[in-house]
């Protein structure tokens, strides 16, 4: 399922520095349509900087990104979202005092008009859509009325994931360490979810440390070390040990 004709996203020779720190020296990779790609590497290897260039938070100093056949220069995350790239942030980016439907529609609130002219938040429709989106990812929240502050880590994440699916334009989802803060059961749900999103035809980039999880969900693995993409492997062609060797650079010393 991985290799279709033209990749959905192509990144060529991306570079990004923050002052004297070269966060990303050379990142070239592509993401196929309906493909799950894991980014792995040590802390500081440049994974999150690469991801932020795709999600619109950072602009590359150099290099080219094309998405869906077009040159891709998002001004900000909202722009990237409009173009079809959504991000699940590690801290979930939720307004904790607002309920799940409110968070799912944060910044994109649905409104209606009362008496023909008075603008009014359409809470009923947002609730309804929220329920649909949560049903689509097969998650039931105990309540759609309570602020997400009162929910468990897994439930909060469910709200954040449902938000990613709100836009019909979404074709690529970036997940930054989606399982880092979760328990066993909730981790398994997230892994299942990545699989089912993929079956719906969405591409997923996932940053993960746990190689067992990586091999469970990803078609390919992009390995970064010291700000450079040092290798891309198919999970059905290598073992986790090979990936570990790439991450720590054991390959070269052999």
């Amino acid at each position: 399922m991985a290799q279709s004709a033209a990749p959905l996203l192509e990144a060529r020779a991306l570079r990004k520095s923050f002052g004297a720190v070269k966060a990303v020296r050379e990142a070239t990779f592509d993401i196929g349509a309906a493909e799950v790609v894991a980014f792995v590497g040590d802390n500081g290897a440049g994974k999150s900087t690469v991801i932020k260039m795709l999600s619109g938070a950072h602009r590359p100093d150099d290099g080219e990104i094309s998405f869906a056949g077009q040159s891709f220069h998002p001004r900000d995350p909202e722009d990237a979202r409009r173009l079809g790239i959504e991000t699940l942030y590690q801290d979930l980016a939720l307004a904790n005092d607002i309920d799940a439907p409110g968070n799912i529609f944060l910044g994109h609130e649905l409104t209606t008009r009362k008496a023909g002219f008075i603008p009014w938040l359409d809470k009923a429709r947002m609730r309804e859509r929220a329920r649909e989106l949560l049903a689509r990812i097969r998650i039931e929240l105990p309540s759609l009325d309570q602020p997400v502050r009162l929910m468990s880590g897994g439930q909060r994440q469910a709200a954040a994931i449902a938000r990613i699916l709100r836009s019909e334009a979404t074709r690529l989802i970036i997940m930054d360490e989606p399982t880092a803060a979760l328990g066993v059961q909730e981790t398994r749900k997230v892994l299942d979810l990545i699989g089912s999103l993929n079956e719906e035809g969405l591409s997923v980039i996932v940053v993960m440390h746990n190689l067992e999880q990586v091999f469970a969900v990803a078609h390919r693995v992009v390995v970064m070390r010291g700000g450079t993409v040092v290798g891309t492997v198919q999970t059905d062609e290598v073992t986790p040990k090979d990936v570990v060797n790439l991450i720590v650079g054991a390959e070269e010393s052999r």
Binding site: Y89, A95, L121, Q146, R149, Q185
Partner: protein
């Protein structure tokens, strides 16, 4: 054994959070107000007379209008200490314009515009210069008060046209005009806060500003609008106060900011942002108004009311902290339930394989 005990733990936490949610929906100020009514009425039954009840609304009107705006500012995790001074400026500019022959509606409109502009200036300084709102508006508190005294040479404008005085002193039936205007503002505020994008985003910005930016909300522009709305409320309050006193003087609004912030926080709007309640604000303003009015009627020393209001404020913030702590505990309970389910499942898996 382990299984059953962890399950019980989970369901108990669930039941507790349900009861807590119900209790937290009732604003404790309603109880405080009821107690005040009974206590004051026992000492002086005249407190309950319609005229006196309307008097409470009339006296609370200016504070109420200011507090509507402040509810938005504080919900968005901001603060505006300049409302009192800004009120003085707006009052004097309106008064001076009308005194110089400008028609009343135009003079008041100019004051509303000026108030809005001052509020937006606060917002722009906070967002562009990235100075803490407490400092920006403290600076404006001093600056505007100095400016209005300088501009007026410490003189007052007195004896304004009838139509303006009606706004502050008139009645429609038994209901004073200021009460009508201030309660209308509170209704508009309620609608804005609970049923519009503007209100929803105000809460969201106060709750998690970074998340709002990531979701495409123009946070800085929104803050300018929030402070601008506060400024508009200042203009309305100034028009009311000038009408009520039939004069405009540069000392108007002195120390109002403290009164307003106390009322809003007393009502349940959170000083750390993200929680705002317009009904609470109305109750907060009325509570303070009832204390002030009641103290006079029961013949208590004038200064005792300040003692009471101060203590009420501390009690309200203590209650907010308690409520916040309870919410954190509920979140922990939710996480623990999830962990319990994991444990149950692991146990079951182990039992199945063994």
């Amino acid at each position: 054994m382990t299984v059953s005990s962890s399950l019980q733990g989970g369901s108990a936490a669930g039941a507790r959070s349900g009861a807590a949610a119900l209790v937290s929906r009732i604003n404790p100020l309603i109880i405080a107000i009821l107690v005040l009514y009974v206590l004051i009425a026992i000492v002086n039954p005249r407190f309950l007379e319609l005229f006196n009840q309307m008097n409470i609304l009339r006296q609370a009107a200016v504070y109420m209008v200011l507090a509507v705006g402040m509810t938005f500012v504080i919900s968005s995790k901001g603060i505006d200490l300049s409302v009192g001074s800004s009120l003085g400026v707006c009052a004097c500019v309106m008064g001076a314009l009308v005194d110089a022959g400008v028609p009343v509606p135009l003079g008041i409109a100019a004051g509303l515009l000026l108030g809005t502009a001052i509020g937006m200036a606060n917002g722009l300084m906070i967002t562009i210069l990235k100075v803490n709102p407490l400092i920006v508006t403290l600076g404006m508190l001093v600056t505007l008060r100095g400016a209005v005294h300088y501009g007026m040479q410490s003189n007052s404008v007195v004896r304004l046209p009838e139509s303006w005085v009606f706004l502050g002193q008139g009645f429609i039936g038994p209901v004073p005009m200021p009460a009508i205007i201030s309660l209308s503002m509170a209704l508009i505020g309620y609608w804005l806060l609970n049923h519009t994008r503007f209100g929803r985003r105000t809460i969201a910005v106060g709750s998690n500003e970074d998340a709002c930016r990531l979701m495409g909300i123009p946070v800085d522009r929104h803050k300018v609008a929030v402070y601008g709305f506060q400024g508009l409320c200042v203009g309305v309050a100034a028009a009311l106060l000038v009408g009520r006193l039939n004069s405009a003087s540069p000392d108007m609004g002195l120390l109002y900011e403290l009164h307003i912030i106390a009322a809003v926080v007393l009502g349940g709007t959170a000083l750390y942002g993200g929680i705002g309640t317009m009904a609470g604000t109305v109750l907060g303003v009325l509570t303070i108004g009832i204390v002030e009015n009641g103290m006079v009627l029961i013949g208590a020393d004038f200064h005792i009311q300040r003692v009471l209001v101060g203590l009420l404020l501390i009690a309200a913030v203590a209650y907010q902290e308690f409520r916040r702590g309870r919410m954190d505990r509920m979140a922990v309970a939710a996480d623990r339930e999830a962990a319990d389910r994991d444990a149950v499942e692991r146990e079951a898996a182990r039992g199945g394989s063994g």
